[in-house]
Amino acid sequence: MRRAIKRLLGLGLLLTVISMVTFAAMNILGDPLFNILGPIAGDVDNPESVKIIEEAKEQYYLDKSLPERYARWAGDFVTGDFGVRFSATGQPPVTDLIKERFPRTLQLMIMAQLIAVGLAIPWAVTAASRANSKTDKTSTVTAFAFVSLPNFALAVILFYVFSIRLDWLPDVYTATDPFWGFTHNHRLIQNLLPALTLGLGGAAAYQRLLRTDLITTLQEDFILMARSKGVSRRKVLYKHALRPSLFSLITVLAINISYMIGGALVVETFFRIPGLGTAVVEAVLREDFPVVLAIVMIVATAFMVFNYLADLLYGVIDPRVRTNEKESTPIFRSLWKSQTNLEAEEKINDETVEVSS
């Protein structure tokens, strides 16, 4: 339990620092008034304009000192309010904008990662089990092709083949369509091409990582041992070799997912998906700081959360990582200690009670 609390405190501290730095940097570098008011913002000689400027400053708290503004923002942020946009109308509020855009990016990201991991694992296992054979060499060349092919090029190719030529997949993304369903009017299907664009590149990168780790694992004595037990080739690969080889993949996966939470600009733009990626670019160009800040906070949180999940996953995969945490919390204990161990322990506890009574 102490560990979890420490981790949570760390997350809080990190978010505070990141938000302070971002907040300060953006307020020092730009002039948000121009985006709120337009050309009037520069018209400081005209008393009427000055009046409007003063009013706007007051409305957006721009007349307050930086620490005060930060404190105000932080207070709102904690209650889930990301503040008001720095635009002419200030509408929609940042929170609403994020609520609208974040799910789209999240759906795309999850689909892309599922495709990437789903392809990478069998691909890497096949390649590693025949290391340096023709199959492996072909797959290496293919992987490098996908890794080095830029997103936009792959997007164009996939779009042309599957949408225009074959007409298997829809060519428009409609943000108002329902997500779950299997027709062209569901976003699940509309997301396939963009997810594939992101997923193929990811799969190739993951395949390179996992293949190397698998080749190392396959040279271990326990693989020979498993084979000598008569375990089938397939089982040796998937049951004995895969699990201890997943560490690097999980590490990179956690980083990649967190990174992609911030949106995939190129793919979102190409397939016209109004997600976080496009939102952040618009916001940066218009110096719409509250939006940028909100997305920065989301990405930072994602990094912390996914890296924590990765740490937990290491323990699930490899029992040797667990030992330090055994005494942590009852929840973790039931997860990590086998049932029999627990029962045995309870028995011992019962016995001690009996003896003492």
Partner: protein, 355 residues
């Protein structure tokens, strides 16, 4: 037709068995024409220093070498069935089992040990989970693992080296194999555990009536546990005899050199051991003649030119022109001592004595 299981029909027969690996320099002849016979219920000790080909020989027979770059020839018959050129997967986990050298690395670190022992039982004998669990608990008791039920759910890292080796032995024994290959089963264990493990292996081997190949670099380990001992060097058989015969009448200079290089209980304090000079031969381009000649104190000119044929004396066979214990051998040694070096130019030092 079932294969007869009486003692007359040997379990394993190798004839001129060879294994080579394709390397950039050429074919590395790791096993170069080995012939042997292993009877049912018997233990064969294979002894030799590192690189003598003993491990490759056994992995080759069981079929665990990577197929690519490996060239196998000659004949290896298991229960009368030819193995060379055939896939031996059907024997794995059913009739053949192997115990590896290092229990620290030979168990899957992320699998519970119980599952690792149960795996071949569930797969080959189609036991249910509870049946398999019961069997494994019985075997754990047999090999001396305390609290067997609790151990089932532990991971290898939670066990000591000796316990892990017992788990490995359980894996091999659980399937009740006909042939058990123990590849240096005690090398990475400390001495107190070594004896226990070796005694355990021999006891269970006798009880279950299986044949065992005990690979070791330590003649002392093979002594008293193996019925026969085969001494290998550079991929070839140097000497092969029933254990008692071998120690009574060591014929090959290599066997003798190997024996002198390990400490013995009857040695006086501070006895200097006699190391074998030089290093094992290059197996890609092996020396012509006897493989051991360059390091042999008995070597004469003919040893460098011709491969010594196998001399058979009853159950005892050896490949040497100048074996110990007969006149030619003694003369060869005297000649070399007089000229101060052997035919290959190896300097002969005065025999080391107690200091």
């Amino acid at each position: 037709m079932t294969y007869p299981t009486d003692e007359e029909h040997p379990l394993l027969v190798l004839e001129d068995y060879r294994i080579g690996f394709n390397t950039e320099r050429g074919l590395a002849k790791a096993v170069d024409g080995v012939s042997l016979t292993l009877k049912r219920g018997q233990t064969l000790g294979i002894v030799g220093e590192s690189g003598s080909g003993k491990t490759v020989l056994n992995r080759g027979v069981i079929g665990l070498l990577a197929a690519r770059n490996t060239v196998e020839s000659g004949s290896a018959k298991f229960e009368g069935e030819e193995l060379v050129g055939e896939n031996r997967q059907a024997f794995w986990g059913t009739k053949m089992a192997m115990i590896f050298q290092d229990p620290m690395t030979s168990l899957n670190p992320v699998m519970k040990v119980g599952n690792q022992v149960m795996e071949p039982l569930r797969q080959h004998q189609k036991l249910s989970k509870s049946e398999a669990k019961k069997r494994v608990a019985d075997i754990f008791t047999l090999v001396g693992i305390p609290e067997p039920i609790k151990r089932l759910d532990q991971y290898p890292h939670e066990l000591s080296g000796g316990m892990r080796q017992r788990v490995m032995i359980s894996i091999a024994l659980a399937i009740e194999p006909d042939l058990l290959i123990a590849d240096e089963p005690t090398t990475s264990l400390d001495v107190t555990v070594q004896k226990y493990i070796l005694d355990l292996l021999t006891r269970v081997q006798k009880e279950q009536g299986m044949s065992m190949v005990l690979i070791t670099h330590d003649l002392g380990v093979a002594r008293g546990r193996a019925d026969e001992i085969l001494v290998m060097y550079g991929g070839r058989v140097m000497e092969h005899a029933p254990t008692e015969d071998l120690f009574e009448k060591m014929s090959h200079p290599y066997t003798s050199a190997l024996f002198s290089s390990i400490p013995h209980l009857h040695h006086k304090k501070h006895t200097r051991l006699t190391p074998i000079p030089g290093t094992p031969p290059d197996i890609v381009e092996p020396p012509t003649g006897c493989r051991f000649a360059p390091r042999c104190t008995y070597a004469q000119e003919i040893c460098l030119l011709e491969s010594p044929p196998m001399t058979q004396e009853g159950n005892h066979r050896y490949a040497c022109f100048f074996p110990i214990g007969i006149q030619q051998g003694q003369e060869a040694l005297t000649t070399n001592q007089q000229r101060g070096h052997t035919a290959s130019g190896l300097q002969i030092q005065k025999k080391a004595e107690a200091i």
